[in-house]
C-alpha cells in the first residue's frame, strides 16, 4: 500500500464510482452546515450524518476514518483552550462563557472535519482535479496539481526508503545526528524530484506530448436519487436544527 490511508480508502470506497459533482454537493453541503448551523444540534447532526454515511454506504474502514478525524484534535483542543482563557490585570482565568464557547469550537471543528473526511475518503484527489477545471481553474494549474499528486507518491516512497537506510545506519540515534540526517534526506529528496521530472519529461515526449497532458475524461454518471436524497437530507438536517435549537 502507499501509506496514505485516506487515499487508499478513497480508491477502495464503494462511492468511488459516483459522480464527483454528486459527492461534492453532499459533502460541501455538510461542511457548510457544520460551519453556519448552531453547534447544538447542528454539529451533532452533521457529524452523525458524515460518520454514518462514511462507515455505512461508502464502506470506509472505521479505523481509517477515526484516525483521520482524530488527527486535528491536538490543534482543536489547544486552540479552543487558548481561545477561552482570559488574560487580565489580575492574572489568567477562564472567560465567563468558557465552557459554551469552547464546546462550540470543538463541535464545529469535529463536525466540519468529519464532513471533509467524508469527501476525502470517498473521492481520490485526482478525481477532484477535473472538477476544478470545470470551475474555470486554468488547465495548466490543474495539470501541475495532477503532477503533484502523481509524484508525491513516488517521492514519499523515496523518502521512506532513504530514511529507513539512514535509520539502519544509526542516523537518528541522537538529536544532532537526526538534524544532519534530515538535512541529507531533504536534499536527497529534492534532487530525486528534479531527476524524476527530467526523466518523465523524456518519457512523455516519446509518447507524443505536445503542449498539455490531455487524457480521456472518465465518465462517472450522476445519480438522480443520490442528488434528491442529498437535497432532502440537508433540508431535513437544517430544519431539525432550527426546530431543536
Amino acid at each position: 500500500m502507499t501509506g496514505l490511508a485516506v487515499d487508499d480508502a478513497a480508491w477502495a470506497s464503494t462511492w468511488r464510482p459516483r459522480a464527483v459533482g454528486d459527492k461534492l454537493l453532499l459533502t460541501l453541503g455538510l461542511v457548510l452546515c457544520a460551519l453556519v448551523l448552531p453547534v447544538w444540534p447542528g454539529s451533532l447532526l452533521v457529524g452523525l450524518t458524515a460518520v454514518g454515511l462514511a462507515l455505512g454506504p461508502a464502506r470506509v474502514p472505521a479505523r481509517v476514518f477515526a484516525r483521520a478525524v482524530r488527527l486535528p484534535l491536538a490543534f482543536v483542543a489547544v486552540g479552543a483552550v487558548t481561545a477561552v482563557v482570559q488574560v487580565s490585570t489580575d492574572g489568567i482565568g477562564w472567560a465567563p462563557d468558557a465552557a459554551a464557547t469552547g464546546g462550540a469550537l470543538v463541535g464545529h471543528a469535529l463536525a466540519g472535519g468529519a464532513a471533509v473526511m467524508l469527501l476525502a475518503t470517498t473521492t481520490p484527489v485526482s478525481d477532484l482535479l477535473p472538477a476544478l477545471r470545470r470551475a474555470r481553474v486554468p488547465a495548466a494549474v490543474v495539470e501541475v496539481a495532477s503532477m503533484i499528486y502523481r509524484l508525491l507518491f513516488v517521492l514519499l516512497i523515496s523518502m521512506r526508503t532513504i530514511r529507513e537506510a539512514q535509520t539502519s545506519r544509526l542516523g537518528y540515534s541522537t538529536a544532532r545526528r537526526s538534524y544532519r540526517s534530515s538535512g541529507l534526506l531533504a536534499a536527497a529528496v529534492l534532487t530525486r524530484s528534479w531527476d524524476r521530472a527530467r526523466r518523465l519529461q523524456g518519457g512523455l515526449a516519446g509518447r507524443g506530448m505536445t503542449t498539455d497532458l490531455r487524457v480521456l475524461p472518465e465518465v462517472l454518471p450522476s445519480s438522480r436519487s443520490f442528488l434528491a436524497g442529498t437535497v432532502l437530507g440537508l433540508t431535513v438536517l437544517c430544519g431539525l436544527t432550527v426546530v431543536l435549537s
Binding site: A68, L156, V189
Partner: protein, 207 residues
C-alpha cells in the same frame, strides 16, 4: 500546524479567502505563463509541489523533545520565487487537508494566506536582505527559511486572535495568548528549519 476545518467563524473564513485570492491568482497566472512558454515546466512545477508536500512530512526533532514538521515553503520561495509558491503552497495545503486531514477546506484561505503568501514573501525578503548583507548564501538561506517558518505561525496566531478576541483585553490580549501558544513554541522549530535549509543547500551546492 494549520487551522483545522470548522475552527474559524464563517465571516473570517470568507475574509481570509478573499485576502489570499489575489496572491494565488497572481501565482496561477505566473504558472500559466511559464507553462505556455515552456510546456515541460508542468513536470518541474509538479515535482516542486510534490517536494514541498513530502518535505512537510519530514519529522524534525525539537529541543523540547516533541517533534514537528518543517513548513517547507521557505525553500520553495528561494528556489521558485514567492508568486509561484503562492499557488504551489495552496495546492499543497489542499492536498494536506484532503490526504492528511491537516487543515481544512473552509480554512484553506486563512492557511493559504499564512503559509503560501506571508511565509514565502517574508522568507524570500529576508533571504535577499540577509544574503546581500552577509554576502553568504547559507546565511541568507538560514535567515530566509527561519523567517518563513516563524512568520507563518505568527500570522496563524494573529488570525486566531482576530477570530477570538479576548473578552476583556480584546485583540491585543488574544494576540499575546495565541502568539505565546503557537508562535513562541515555534521558535526552536523555526531555527531547526533554518538549519535544515543550510544542510540542504550545502549538499546542493557541493553537487
Amino acid at each position: 500546524m494549520h487551522i483545522a476545518e470548522g475552527f474559524l467563524p464563517p465571516a473570517h473564513a470568507i475574509g481570509w479567502t478573499i485576502a489570499a485570492a489575489p496572491f494565488v491568482v497572481h501565482g496561477a497566472r505566473a504558472v500559466v505563463k511559464e507553462v505556455r512558454e515552456n510546456p515541460e515546466s508542468t513536470l518541474l512545477l509538479g515535482a516542486a509541489g510534490a517536494f514541498t508536500f513530502v518535505l512537510s512530512a519530514i519529522k524534525l526533532p525539537s529541543v523540547t523533545g516533541s517533534s514537528s514538521h518543517p513548513t517547507g515553503t521557505g525553500v520553495g520561495a528561494i528556489l521558485f520565487r514567492p508568486p509561484v509558491m503562492a499557488l504551489l503552497g495552496t495546492v499543497v495545503l489542499l492536498f494536506q487537508a484532503l490526504l492528511l486531514a491537516h487543515g481544512g477546506l473552509t480554512t484553506l484561505g486563512a492557511n493559504a494566506f499564512s503559509m503560501a503568501v506571508v511565509g514565502p514573501w517574508a522568507g524570500y525578503g529576508t533571504y535577499r536582505l540577509a544574503r546581500r548583507a552577509s554576502g553568504n548564501l547559507l546565511v541568507g538561506v538560514f535567515a530566509g527559511m527561519m523567517i518563513a517558518d516563524l512568520s507563518t505561525y505568527v500570522t496563524t496566531s494573529l488570525q486566531l486572535a482576530l477570530a477570538f478576541p479576548d473578552a476583556e483585553s480584546g485583540f491585543l490580549g488574544a494576540a499575546v495568548k495565541f502568539l505565546g501558544v503557537f508562535a513562541v513554541t515555534q521558535v526552536p522549530l523555526a531555527v531547526a528549519e533554518g538549519f535544515l535549509g543550510v544542510l540542504l543547500f550545502r549538499v546542493l551546492t557541493v553537487n
